[in-house]
């Protein structure tokens, strides 16, 4: 595992997009939340913008920002890291040089796992930092009350990258893969869920989709919207606490399985 991670490090440490995206993530994650300071007071039931920065709600709002940042940055990065191996033809070269196909894939998966871990670590530090400076009275019980957002955040990052991994290996071309990734996640899945699935079956199974499960790891913090939906449709707008873990993990496992199945056999 270390050998493969070292290899990925040798590959990407001087890659411009990788460097830029890492810096961008480091800046955008806290900046995205702190932009909230520019907002006027929020409508009811939230009221003041203070909730964005204090324990324990800071976990939720920061992960909402991180959701968007990760979706763009890590999704993009994971695709580029897969498809550029095809456009440079280094995937062939890596295999010919002596990696097995399995090692090549595992290298990518370990790399994305490590990136997700680092991203989560940074998320934790930023949340603790912002919370610390904005909460008047620090009570440790309150600080860690929403700590379940930490493993959720990891799954969210890793989920987007697993999706990028799948699209990258299936499509192989950077531009097309990026287009499909964003098109599916922003429009395609919505059409599938609301345009087709919801017309046929109106229950919570319309939430059992990959991008929906990843983004529900950090649900929209608009409680009233969710309540209204519940009242009208008779089932919740978001996946439940445990449910979302299970659905997301199943989709991640499925995506990785599909990539393995394809990559171990396909001609390079």
């Amino acid at each position: 595992m270390l050998h493969l991670l070292q290899l990925e490090w040798l590959k990407w440490r001087r890659h411009r997009a990788f460097q830029i995206f890492m810096v961008a993530y480091a800046i955008l994650l806290p900046a995205g939340l702190l932009l909230g300071k520019q907002l006027p007071d929020l409508p009811d039931p939230i009221g003041t913008t203070e909730v964005l920065f204090i324990f324990p709600t800071v976990w939720q709002y920061l992960s909402f920002v991180g959701n968007w940042v990760s979706f763009f940055l890590f999704g993009f990065l994971s695709i580029v890291m897969v498809t550029s191996e095809y456009s440079f033809k280094t995937v062939r070269q890596n295999i010919m040089t002596g990696l097995t196909r399995k090692q090549f894939l595992l290298g990518k998966i370990y790399l994305f796992g490590l990136l997700a871990l680092l991203a989560t670590l940074y998320y934790t530090v930023v949340a603790l930092g912002i919370g610390y400076f904005h909460t008047d009275v620090i009570r440790w019980g309150k600080v860690w009350q929403n700590a379940s957002y930490i493993p959720r955040y990891f799954l969210l990052c890793f989920g987007y990258m697993s999706f990028g991994l799948l699209v990258g290996f299936l499509v192989r071309r950077t531009g097309l893969a990026l287009f499909l990734y964003f098109a599916y996640a922003t429009i395609g899945e919505l059409i599938l869920r609301w345009g087709i699935h919801f017309q046929l079956i109106q229950n919570k199974t319309i939430h059992y989709y990959p991008i929906k499960s990843f983004s529900d790891l950090s649900p929209l913090p608009f409680q009233n919207l969710a309540e209204e939906f519940m009242r009208k449709e008779g089932f919740p707008l978001f996946l439940g606490q445990t449910e979302v873990f299970i659905v997301a993990i199943i989709y991640i496992a499925l995506m990785i399985f599909l990539v393995f199945r394809r990559f171990l056999k396909v001609d390079l």
Binding site: H3, Q6, L7, L10, K11, R14, H15, R16, F88, K89, T90, R92, Q93, N94, I95, M96, T97, G98, L99, T100, R101, K265, D267, L268
Partner: protein, 304 residues
Amino acid sequence: MSILAIDQLYKRYGRIEAVNKLSLQIERGMVYGLLGPNGSGKTTTLGIIMGILSPNSGTYEWFDGKYGNNPRRHIGTLLETPNFYPYLDAIDNLQLIAHIRKVKHPNLGEVLDLVNLSHRKHSRFKTYSLGMKQRLAIAAAMLGDPEVLIFDEPTNGLDPQGIAEVRETIQQIAQSGKTILMASHILDEVERICSHVAIMKNGKLLATGSVGAILSQDPMIEMACDDNKALATLLQSQHMVTKIEEKPNTLLVHFKEAIPPSLINELAFKNQLTLHYLAAKKRSLEAEFLEITQNPKTPKLLNS
């Protein structure tokens, strides 16, 4: 020891049979040329034995199975184009390859000297000329001193100077006793570098053997005089002559065994024919190649 044993390898793309029941045996120390026109299945064959393409049927085994299912760390390969990370310099790219091969103390300086790239070792790969890229790929193949080297059209797309440099490098490597498998459609290249040759066309193996065996056809003498018809008639009566090919201005005469051209001159002169052209010919691989590839139904010389 067998380096590579290929048995009945078969690969097709739709209706095209790219490699058709190919069997081949390569022993240690051979410099093996895989020769064939473009599209004859050379690169596909190399792709299969390097694990990047899957055959439809057939098997191959490296090193008698000594390294299990991943022998490729012990093989240096340059297939088609040189593939490197364009934003990394030569040193970084080579280090990456050494890392995959698990070479503890890579001989980076040594291989860069060998291909004459030491002065550009800190330039990014994308700034290299095609010749330099090709030479870096040879350096990468040499990293960690692999037992076998595979070169696919190593001089493709190079300028004359680049071709000369790459050939010289490969010849040096060959002289060091390494086993080399080289695909090429350039006969001259194979003739100069290789000890053995396999000739392919349309995915089929047409002939294999040592370059010497394929070359050692009937000795020939090409000659001309003012009356070539009379000369041909005269020679036909000689028992040493096996075949006479009439060319536009000369005769190409095949003999059972080598005879000194002076004997011919003497014979002709005695018969009032004055030769104005007389030259001993070695049957070139080129001629052999054309003959074999144009008549695929006569697979002669197999395993000669």
